[in-house]
């Protein structure tokens, strides 16, 4: 029965209830928090025409995914590339941490303390790739990067919210089964009560709709939700008859914010199953590019001056305190715009003005080494548990089941204020916080955790942000201007895509710039002014 409601609901009541329980607007709001909802359309990979003996030099600033993509394609076509990278490492925001790696966070430098084992790594930056990111997957395919399945959604993980269930963690399986049961019953009952949609809707449609509602919620023949084995059995189910779990009351479910947010995370186009990730860490992609490049990336070269010249670009950089200048026909620049705005330059004033207005995204990720894979004892292999505390998420490794140890993601938040709070702590305080909060999800968490790393992207050297944040108005007026070349200088990176925060944006921005160079080279060879 309807422990949820006594009389059939009117459509209006139904809609208002639905709005509470996670309607499209609530879902969209959540999507906004989680990232983008638009899906990039397939593009064909750029193929540059070979230069055939012409001599062209390109300076690439920054060895992130966009810089590496550009270098690979340019070299293949016979361009001479020099890649200048300020950091001690290659990869930018593709950062896979293993034992001994130096984490160059301003004010919180660390050395990764994980044990030395192939399965003990942590993707502190990019971690997952959806199937429609065809640009980055093109390079995984053609450069031989082995992929594994990656999961955001695992019904055996938990949701924890102090406002509901006495703060106890509840399996996502149970929460979702009950929520769907309730919604299914609500839909079925409102449909049978004669509520009609605004669209043409005949008897047959109505019948189908009720069947849908019944299947959606796993309702009984009287269209009532009485619990479901989708939630898992309370007891039995294999050699003895299964006993259903008692559904949780709806008001109790609604007290948790899970239904209005994280429950729908894996509905977001870029986050929905099936996702992929390179075996052994995201930096397999970086390594694959490096296997192809003939010119080595020059590390510790901090660009300090960008000068447009009539025929090309001159770049000055600092290396070990000394200044060097190089000239080239083209410059492809993937340095984060908020840092470019602090580099001396003669770029057009309106160009620099836009860069100054881009926001610095804030993200914190914490990785924890566990000495036992305790989550496997709780039937969890991969996926995400969600909590309303600052740590927001716990990720379980999707790889290397049954190994001795494992690396968990112990915190990952998109809320700038939360990231500010983590940034204000010392590394030790961050770990202590991650462990204390994780304990609400896994009671014995602290005794399993051995060590960890914390990465606040807004503090990372040569980054100072997890990505550019374009204010909506500025994007309308400034994006195309920044995307267009200034002289022979191109700004690129995911910051110059409508898909910032994804490697796909970085790859496509490089293709966009390369296509323009190709166009200009074609003009040049016909003698026209490029």
């Amino acid at each position: 029965m309807s422990n949820y409601f006594k009389a059939p609901l009117t459509r209006r009541q139904c809609l208002s209830l639905l709005a509470k329980a996670g309607s499209s607007s609530a879902v969209l709001g959540a999507a906004g928090i989680f990232g983008l909802t638009n899906t990039p359309v397939n593009a064909s990979p750029v193929t540059l025409k070979p230069l055939q003996g012409k001599n062209r030099k390109v300076l690439i600033l920054g060895a992130g995914i966009s810089g590496l993509t550009a270098a690979y394609e340019l070299e293949r076509a016979g361009y001479h590339c020099t890649i200048l990278e300020a950091s001690h490492r290659i990869g930018g925001r593709v950062l896979t941490l293993r034992r001994g790696d130096f984490i160059d966070e301003l004010g919180s430098p660390q050395i990764c303390p994980f044990d030395d084992a192939p399965n003990l790594y942590f993707n502190a930056g990019a971690a997952r790739i959806p199937a429609h990111h065809t640009g980055i997957l093109h390079y995984c395919r053609t450069l031989g990067v082995e992929l594994q399945l990656f999961s955001n959604h695992n019904k055996n993980c938990y949701t924890q919210d102090d406002a509901a269930f006495n703060g106890q963690p509840v399996r996502i399986r149970e929460y979702e089964a009950d929520m769907r049961g309730f919604i299914g019953e609500l839909l079925a009952k409102s449909a049978t009560s004669g509520a009609v949609l605004d669209q043409p809707f005949d008897e047959q449609d109505l019948d189908k709709f009720i069947q849908f509602a019944q299947a959606y919620g796993d309702l009984d023949s009287s269209l009532t939700y009485r619990g479901t084995d989708r939630a898992g059995y309370a007891a039995g189910g294999v050699t003895t008859a299964g006993i259903l779990k008692q559904p949780r009351p709806l008001p109790e479910l609604l007290r948790s914010d899970f239904c209005a947010g994280a429950m729908h995370f894996a509905e977001i186009a870029d986050q929905a199953p099936a996702l992929m990730t390179p075996s052994g860490g995201m930096d397999s992609i970086v390594k694959a590019f490096l296997r192809q490049l003939t010119t080595p990336v020059q590390l510790h070269c901090q660009v300090s001056n960008i000068q447009l010249q009539p025929q090309g670009v001159a770049i000055t950089y600092l290396k070990q305190g000394e200044s060097y200048t190089e000239q080239a026909d083209y410059c492809l620049n993937c340095i984060p715009a908020q840092l470019v705005s602090g580099i001396e330059n003669n770029l057009p004033a309106d160009y620099v003005t836009i860069m100054r207005q881009l926001g610095r995204g804030k993200l914190t990720k914490i990785g924890l080494q566990a000495k036992q894979r305790f989550w496997e004892q709780e039937d969890i292999y991969s996926g995400i548990s969600w909590t309303k505390q600052d740590i927001t998420q716990i990720w379980y490794p999707h790889h290397d089941a049954f190994k001795a140890k494992g690396i968990l993601l112990g915190a990952y938040s998109w809320e700038p204020q939360i990231s500010d709070r983590f940034a204000a702590m010392t590394h030790q305080q961050r770990l202590a916080t991650a462990i204390a909060q994780g304990t609400k999800v896994h009671a014995n968490y602290a005794q399993h955790i051995e060590n960890g790393v914390s990465v606040c992207w807004q503090r990372m050297n040569h980054m100072l942000g997890c990505g550019a944040v374009w204010p909506e108005e500025l994007q309308k007026t400034g994006f195309q201007l920044l995307q267009a070349p200034a002289g022979n200088h191109y700004l690129m990176g995911d910051q110059l895509s409508m898909h910032p925060g994804w490697q796909e944006g970085a790859v496509r921005s490089a293709w966009h710039a390369l296509a323009d160079i190709e166009r200009r080279e074609a003009l040049r060879s016909t003698g026209a002014q490029a």
Partner: protein, 210 residues
Amino acid sequence: MNKIWLVFMLLSSAVLADSKQPDAQYCLVCHGSAAQGNAAIKAPNLTILPDWYLRQQFIAFRNNWRGSATNDAHGKEMQAVANTMNDAEIEQAIAFIRRQAPVKLPISVNTTANVQHGQQLYQQCQACHGAQGEGNAQLHAPPLAGQHNWYLVQQLSAFKNGWRGNQNDDSYGQIMRQFAQSLPDEQAIADVVAYIDSLPSTQPLLRTSR
């Protein structure tokens, strides 16, 4: 667990020292390639600031005089860095900044500010910061002319709302806070900053070390 941490920290501190880039190139990541400041990072122009003031501010960050307020995210960034630096590293950083030639900043005009009103308000600043905003070493008052206007606004607001100058042992900060509090509102801050912005850029005061 604590023990493991201790051992780890001891082992790693030597490695950390090596991995720092020489010559405090670090400063230029936030403060711009010539230490001229960067609006996108809210990092001030360092080239106009004399050694004694830079040193004083390192101390201020380490003493929690700056960067301790909960919402002062930018102050906290610098504080975190200052806390990882020992005295020798601070002197190295100051020497490195000294090697950067002062950069002429682009003139930015704030059309909504009243420069004349700003000039009146500046009367009270003048005693310490000088008629040309050139600063005064004896009074521990930094040069203002040549600093970014957005940074001056930000710091006046920080003094006014107690993010700076709010600690008993920070006597210079406390003095400055009193003056900032005498500015009634944002408009007054904008006006006085617009006046400072109109002052011809003075060469930085003494560029001696120590």
